[in-house]
């Protein structure tokens, strides 16, 4: 169900003309998939909740009319130019993160997967996290999927690009299944979900969770950057920071929110910054480490006939045929101007290829990676993320490119532009196989990541993790983390539902313990 945020409950740091100080039961930092869920769940349970968000609040009626690059500029962190710096033989990986009320949920493809059973089993078996098993998550998954209207994309909503993908996969004996997304029955197939949905079909948290939070009394303080935690007697007692009402979004006045419970949900890259500054997680020394990204690649196949891949759902099929190899195949598309930018060549070669985009299909894959990333405090307001891809993962990435090229050729593509910059187009199965073993500097591979996870992971104790299985930090009572940073390993699937389900569980637990937490605070 889609609702609207009660705008009388939204305060913008741009509009405040003096320092701001408030008291609440719970302060949630971040309004994305994790923070919105915690805020709504606790507000509905009668708690006084304040959500602090660094980004601005855009009304859906406005952002649905943003051109793709304007969505990127206004709603993506760093205008969409966040990079994981590759260490050694690792591609530079472009990372998409939201920075607005609703966070990255505004900018996902809307794909909804639960955490695979084998991942839950690993968490329970190998890591000993008994409360992180599949059965413990069941009720939370159901709750999330109900609230964001998760439905399977019907076959008739597949684009011609995806149909070619399915056809090619079938010829190679690769099974393909329909994807579930959070668009209810409202998707009209505009094919640009990552840049907000012009039809308003996507149930991002600003139209699914935050409206309920504000209806139940929660306040959203946007354009406000949290710079530190307030500590009292060794416990979390609130947050402080700067309102972003200065020139060009610079800081204007200070603000403080006092609360006995603080929930950090700023995402895998920014939650560690606050933890590191507060000295949380020193014992385990894992804050900011073990970041997994699910690096993804795509190829563009040019056919002889019209494809017009922009007509249809952005993502509608996937395949786990190569699950044992750590590769997930996904049907993808994106706005045509972004596709043009990813084509090989410059000048006349680029123009010629761009003229063929109407005859092109796009095929994608992502890999289930080891945690090779690390978040560090940067010289300015943004963190520095480095990522060292394991040799096994690089091999998987290259295998994925070859598989995608083979599928594309089997579907009838005449020419394939791979993810390796500057490489000649692939025209035969032999070319495709050679790509897998050719000598290529990994930094020539165009690589994206949409699901950074794991920088403040759940552990059994302070030696192995940052938070316990209920989301509370070991080092600072009253301080919780409820975003993708707590997931202890790569999950190999899109992370929106997993983050929301984890946040739901943490919020339920927190609600049950709240009287005790308030007394202690």
């Amino acid at each position: 169900m889609r609702e609207a945020i009660d705008e009388s409950r939204v305060i913008s740091g741009r509009d405040l003309r003096a320092p701001h100080e408030e008291t609440a039961d719970v302060v949630v930092v971040g309004s994305g998939a994790g923070g919105a869920v915690v805020a709504a769940t606790l507000a509905e349970a009668g708690k006084r909740v304040i959500v602090v968000e660094e980004g601005p609040f855009y009304r859906p009626a406005d952002y649905q009319r943003f051109a793709p690059s304007e969505s990127v500029r206004r709603m993506f962190r760093e205008g969409g130019m966040v990079l994981a710096f590759g260490v050694g033989q690792t591609p530079m990986i472009s990372i998409t993160l939201g920075r607005a009320v609703g966070g990255s949920s505004l900018l996902t493809g809307g794909v909804c997967f639960r955490i695979p059973s084998d991942v839950h089993a690993t968490w329970q078996g190998r890591l000993g996290l008994q409360e992180m098993g599949e059965r413990s998550f069941e009720r939370a998954y159901e709750e999330v999927e109900r609230r964001i209207d998760v439905t399977e994309i019907p076959v008739h909503m597949r684009s011609e690009s995806t149909r070619r993908y399915v056809e090619g996969a079938k010829k190679l004996g690769i099974e393909v299944e329909s994807i579930r997304r959070n668009t209810g029955d409202d998707c009209v197939g505009t094919g640009r979900c990552n840049f907000t949905c012009p039809a308003g079909a996507k149930r991002s948290v600003d139209v699914s969770y935050l409206p309920s939070a504000t209806r139940h009394g929660a306040t959203i303080l946007c354009d406000a950057l949290v710079s530190g935690l307030i500590e009292k007697g060794g416990r979390a007692a609130g947050v402080e920071g700067k309102l972003l009402g200065g020139p060009f979004g610079g800081s204007s006045h200070a603000f403080k929110i006092h609360a006995p419970v603080v929930v950090l949900a700023c995402g895998t890259l920014h939650t560690p910054l606050l933890l590191l500054r507060a000295g949380v997680g020193k014992r385990s020394n894992v804050v900011g480490r073990n970041v997994t990204l699910h690096p993804a690649v795509r190829i563009v196949g040019r056919f002889d006939e019209a494809i017009n891949g922009w007509d249809g759902s952005l993502q509608s099929v996937y395949s786990d045929h190569f699950h044992d190899d750590g590769i997930k195949l996904v049907g993808v598309y994106t706005a045509v101007n972004f596709l043009a930018a990813g084509l090989p060549g410059v000048g006349p070669a680029l123009r010629r290829r761009a003229r063929g985009l109407g005859q092109s299909a796009v095929f994608g894959a992502m890999i289930h990676d080891e945690g090779g990333g690390r978040v560090r405090l940067g010289p300015g307001r943004e963190p520095i993320l480095s990522y060292e891809m394991a040799p096994r993962d690089l091999a998987r990435l290259r295998k994925a490119i070859t598989i995608l090229a083979e599928i594309s050729l089997a579907a009838g593509a005449k020419e394939i532009y791979s993810s390796a910059w500057g490489f000649p187009p692939i025209r035969s199965m032999d070319d495709a196989r050679k790509m897998e073993t050719a000598s290529i500097d990994a930094r020539r591979i165009e690589c994206m990541a949409f699901h950074p996870l794991g920088s403040a992971r759940v552990g059994l104790d302070a030696r192995t993790g940052v938070v316990d299985q209920r989301g509370e930090t070991f080092d600072m009572p009253g301080l919780f983390v409820a975003d993708g940073s707590v997931l202890p390993t790569s999950i190999g699937v899109n992370s929106q539902v997993p983050i929301m389900a984890t946040a739901t569980r943490f919020a339920w637990e927190l609600d049950a313990r709240f009287p005790e937490l308030r007394r202690a605070g």
Partner: protein
């Protein structure tokens, strides 16, 4: 220390300054700089703007009647102006990082084709040659240098107008939702 250097770099570049926003239309009510929440800070100084314009002319160059012609001036200007506003939304780290890349691009002729000239002073043919060499270079760092310019500039150039329709895109623009035929629903 790094913060101080960053502030010094900003002073050298004379930023921030407000950039000219684009005019809203019925089809595109919120183009770059036209939303009430846009800050319209500039992210490119004069030096970086000159480099970006020079790169964009070559990136969007085409063959007309067997002759190489630079990208259409109005499309080039729009792409660079959008990048200016785009970078202006980012942090100082990002803006200074891009400034360093502009410096590297100016030095690219020496690094790729052994020509002791600044990129912006080369002929169109030579600029295109340098960009091709960057893309095909065995060292991925050179490829990354090209990508840092190519992705945002080409994205902006192909978002509207003649280049969008050159791709075969058959809707009014990239903003309007697709109209789904009744029988398909």
């Amino acid at each position: 220390m790094l913060q101080t250097l960053g502030r010094a770099a900003r002073r050298v570049r004379g930023l921030p300054r407000a950039a000219t926003p684009f005019a809203p239309t019925a089809d595109d009510p919120f183009p770059a700089g036209a939303h009430p929440l846009d800050h319209n800070r500039s992210g490119l100084g004069a030096f970086a703007t000159r480099v970006c314009r020079s790169v964009t002319e070559a990136l969007l160059a085409d063959e007309v009647g067997g002759r190489l012609v630079a990208g259409e001036p109005e499309i080039v200007d729009r792409a660079v102006q959008k990048l200016d506003l785009w970078l202006g939304t980012g942090s100082l780290q990002l803006q200074n990082g891009f400034l360093a890349l502009c410096g590297a691009m100016e030095a690219a002729p020496l690094l790729t084709v052994r020509k002791a000239s600044r990129f912006t002073q080369l002929s169109l043919e030579d600029r295109l040659h340098v960009l091709e060499r960057l893309e095909e270079h065995d060292n991925g760092l050179f490829t990354m240098l090209l990508t840092a310019f190519k992705v945002p500039l080409v994205t902006a150039a192909f978002e509207e107008g003649p280049l969008l329709f050159e791709t075969g895109f058959d809707r009014l623009n990239l903003i309007v939702p697709r109209v789904l035929r009744r029988e398909a629903r």
